[in-house]
């Protein structure tokens, strides 16, 4: 039995041990094998004791016969002949005396204790030492594609942690009693527990643990802004670098996919209730996955020809390979989820029509309407919205033109306006199309860049220029109406505004012109008005988002729920998933109430009053017209 305390040292760790008195090494090479040599004392007689130098191999040889349960009287250093037995500590298993040696772990000398009873196999560290070692392990960096090579392809940039790196990284976790990281996670994944399971090499269990709260770890591990969520609150991060929670999350998900040990979750018996999910982005997929496990029949409606929403059209291939999204969606389909692509809800079916055929509707349509700056020349040729640029590149695979029919905007000098993740995606995408100069223009300073640190770092490595504290005021076109430059004004930072960031103020007469062929406007998205235009009783708020009850995510129309960017405005994938989960729980709660066995549109009291026995659900469903 190996004690958990030294688990993080286990993997391929072979011990370098030293005498605490004379500091000579116990390690001896013997027949190409590393062995530790001591002098044992039993019944007053010295004998030679040889132990394996590997932590997880318990092999001992002695010049006298060793028996199970025999306790050595003493253990001495073969060099200085001093006793190694310490009175300060006892064995954690059997309570017998222990010998103390010094081991070197992560270039630090640490006292290490071993039980003197043969067969007990206990060895360990004190809690304080353990902590010292853990703090000494550096944060494991994820291997990445070479920065010179990667701007010539669209393959994923980080390769993911190897098993060794992941186990080492998992060993860094301090297993806090009151973990702060869980609070930082929008879906409250039990982070210390899943990391503990990784450290114990129970990766299958770790995946199951994560999936209790987050169904798509492969996606979240890649696109979550961990440095502002779980990793920001990690205790290790206060002193050093936080545990790479995101990398570990990605590791277990990739491991599961590579090894193909995915298990089908337990699915409740069908309860004859139908749910329509509008939009197949992160929020919609979460709702579908949650409810299908509870026995609901799910139909997802997607406007584009491929399900996945922003995961497919927005996030580029080199950041989130589309094969991962397909894998997750195929899995949902295998659970029995129906996905109807090419259906724009509002046009083809109204919300009211959906309610006639479904017990509840979830709206996860996202914020898909690009924002523009409303400055002169915005409609010149080669001025794109980030949405258009990314949709062309990702969804329509324009980078493979002319194999794929959608043309790719090409140019030597490309300017991206904005500083978020979408701007980084556009800039890095642009670099991969062969542009010589790609410049990100942002009106605040480097500190305020809203993109993930990793994205900014990757962008800088790939040779993307940052023109900070600069704001475009005019697009300059040539006589053929094509873009040839952007006139910008320099900015300085003033007092902090409501969001806590310092407000940029233009400096007068500081106008400069950046010559460029293509401009991509990546300053955010607004909710799409199609649903509001076609559903008059759907209540919106002043930002054009859907107004919901924050606890249940129910909209102003009963049995219609919403979540994701359509509620919050442009936000993260994981927050959309979090809201999807809240909505799924609320829907289940509402629909599993006895009163909801009647048709959704009828009020429960009325139904009871007119018909003594409420119609069984199964019957009413079968008589309904199928959409």
């Amino acid at each position: 039995m190996v004690d958990y305390d030294v688990k993080y040292l286990k993997f391929k760790t072979y011990l370098n041990t030293y005498c605490p008195h004379c500091r000579n090494s116990f390690n001896r090479k013997e027949k190409e094998m590393d062995k530790l040599k001591f002098i044992g004392v039993y019944k007053g007689e010295d004998f030679e004791l040889t132990i394996s130098a590997y932590l997880d191999v318990f092999e001992a040889q002695a010049s006298i016969p060793l028996k199970e349960g025999m306790i050595l009287e003493d253990c001495k250093c073969p060099h200085c002949k001093q006793s190694l037995v310490t009175s300060e500590k006892k064995c954690g298993e059997c309570g017998s005396a222990v010998g103390e040696v010094i081991i070197s772990a992560f270039s630090k000398l640490i006292p290490f204790f071993t039980c003197l009873k043969y067969g007990c196999e206990w060895h360990g560290l004190t809690k304080a030492d353990e902590r010292r070692i853990k703090l000494k392990i550096p944060r494991q960096e994820m291997p990445e594609q070479d920065q010179v090579l990667r701007i010539h392809n669209f393959n994923e940039v980080p390769y993911g942690l190897t098993t060794e790196l992941a186990l080492l990284e998992a060993g860094r976790c301090l297993q806090c009693k009151q973990p702060k990281c869980v609070e930082g996670c929008p879906v409250n994944i039990d982070i210390p527990e899943f990391i503990r399971l990784i450290a114990e090499e129970k990766i299958e269990d770790a995946v199951m643990k994560v999936k209790e709260t987050n169904l798509f770890p492969a996606i979240c591990g890649r696109v979550c802004p961990q440095e502002n969520q779980c990793e920001e609150l990690c205790i290790l991060g206060k002193r050093d670098y936080p545990v790479a929670i995101g990398h570990l999350e990605r590791f277990i998900a990739d491991y599961e996919r590579r090894m193909d040990f995915r298990k089908l979750p337990r699915i409740e018996a069908k309860n004859n209730k139908r749910i329509a999910v509008v939009g197949s982005g992160p929020a919609g997929l979460t709702v579908a996955a949650d409810l299908i496990q509870l026995g609901y029949s799910i139909t997802i409606y997607e406007a584009l020809h491929e399900p996945g929403g922003v995961l497919v059209y927005g996030i580029p291939e080199f950041r989130l390979p589309k094969s991962i999204v397909h894998y997750e969606i195929e899995f949902l389909k295998s659970l029995g989820c129906r996905i109807e692509t090419n259906h724009v809800i509002g046009y083809i079916y109204s919300i009211a029509e959906l309610l006639e055929n479904y017990d509840a509707v979830f709206l996860g349509v996202g914020a898909g309407l690009p924002r523009f700056m409303n400055i002169t020349g915005e409609n010149l040729c080669n001025v794109f919205s980030a949405n258009e640029y990314l949709t062309r590149m990702n969804l329509m695979k324009a980078y493979k033109f002319p194999e794929y029919d959608t043309p790719m905007p090409e140019g030597n000098d490309i300017v991206v306006i904005g500083g978020g993740n979408v701007a980084m995606d556009c800039a890095r995408n642009a670099k991969r199309t062969g542009a010589i100069n790609v410049t990100v223009v942002y009106r605040r300073s480097r500190k305020e860049l809203p993109a993930r640190n990793e994205e900014i770092r990757h962008a800088e490595e790939e040779g993307i220029h940052f023109k900070l504290l600069t704001n475009p005021v005019r697009f300059v076109g040539d006589d053929r109406n094509w873009l040839k430059g952007i006139e910008c004004v320099l900015m300085e930072l003033g007092e902090p505004d409501d969001s806590g960031r310092r407000r940029p103020i233009p400096i007068e007469n500081s106008n400069i012109t950046i010559p460029c062929d293509i401009a991509i406007v990546a300053i955010g998205n607004r909710p799409n008005p199609i649903l509001f235009n076609t559903t008059p009783n759907l209540q919106g708020n002043k930002w054009g988002c859907i107004e919901v009850n924050q606890e249940t995510m129910e909209t102003s129309i009963e049995y219609v729920y919403a979540g994701g960017d359509i509620v919050t405005g442009a936000a993260t994938v994981i927050s959309a998933m979090g809201q999807g989960r809240i909505a799924a729980n609320a829907m289940h709660k509402k629909l599993s109430r006895p009163a909801s066995k009647t048709k959704p549109k009828q009020k429960p009291e009325k139904a009871v009053a007119t018909t003594p026995k409420p119609k069984p659900k199964a019957k009413s469903t079968s008589t309904r017209k199928k959409i």
């Binding site: 083809i348 409303n374 794929y404």
Partner: protein, 275 residues
């Protein structure tokens, strides 16, 4: 997958008419709305206006001119073949009310869309005067269909091979001069035609609607590639249109934006020929 149930070539094969099975879309489609078509896995998404529909038989009619790679491939499809993706109906339907007398002006392929709207105007109880034009006699489409639904029909050809010699603006000006009860003009066709119709009707202060055809990708307001300037405001043609008040549309900008990918269009076509 949407099956093509009827195919008809018109105007010397430059314009093709498809009846495509799409019962859901047919049930909902209104005049002026469009669909997005994607033919294959590697295909592009192109917008095509719904030229007619039959909700009973469950098909919609698409009439398109062969201009680029996708339409060239579409022309080679036959009855029984299928279109991979068909999204719709998209866009705002045309605003059809009983106003009195309306003039419908159509040119080239625009007549196909015009027919659907003109029919709706007629059914709403309006007096419909139609002026349709083409470059030459053989390129004129839907003459009989337009004749059935119009109270008066004028045909013009650029070379005078059929109907009147000249452009559609000439008979339109005559009508505007002679009749004072024209309440609305609907113009659908090539951009220069719509531009000159609008210039003319502006003089007479007659409300004019045009149907625009900018470059689109998704057709649901997501990409913003189809933005047009209408009354000094940027509008998204796919969700705010495709029909706009013609007096406010910046046609020059639209022409230039539509020519953005001419080179790529040619490359794609060559690629598909050479392989």
């Amino acid at each position: 997958m949407h099956q093509i149930i009827r195919k008809q070539e018109m105007a010397k094969g430059t314009i093709v008419r498809f009846d495509v099975r799409a019962p859901e879309i047919a049930k909902k489609a209104k005049p002026g709305q469009f669909v997005i078509v994607r033919l294959t896995e590697t295909g592009e998404r192109i917008p095509l206006t719904i030229a007619d529909k039959d909700s009973f038989e469950g098909y919609i009619t698409l009439i398109f001119q062969v201009v680029g790679k996708t339409t060239a491939i579409m022309r080679t499809l036959n009855e029984g073949d299928a279109i991979k993706d068909l999204v719709g109906p998209l866009g705002k339907p045309a605003d059809i009310q009983k106003v009195g007398t309306v003039i419908m002006v159509g040119g080239g392929t625009g007549v196909a869309i015009l027919h659907h709207i003109a029919k709706a105007f007629k059914e709403a109880g309006n007096t419909v005067i139609s002026i349709i034009g083409a470059r030459e006699k053989d390129l004129l489409i839907l003459e009989n269909e337009m004749r059935i639904i119009s109270d008066e029909l004028v045909i013009t050809t650029d070379d005078g091979s059929y109907g009147q010699l000249g452009f559609v603006t000439e008979p339109l000006q005559r009508y505007l001069d002679e009749r004072y009860d024209i309440k609305e003009v609907y113009a659908i066709g090539p951009i220069p035609m719509m531009k000159f119709v609008c210039r003319l009707t502006k003089k007479y202060n007659v409300p004019t609607m045009v149907s625009l055809n900018p470059i689109m990708i998704d057709g649901t307001g997501m990409c913003g590639g189809c933005r047009v300037t209408v009354g000094n405001e940027t509008k998204f043609c796919c969700v705010d249109g495709p029909d706009f008040n013609g007096h406010e549309v910046d046609f020059d900008e639209l022409t230039k934006r539509n020519s953005m990918y001419l080179k790529e269009e040619k490359d794609a076509l060559l690629f598909s020929i050479r392989g």
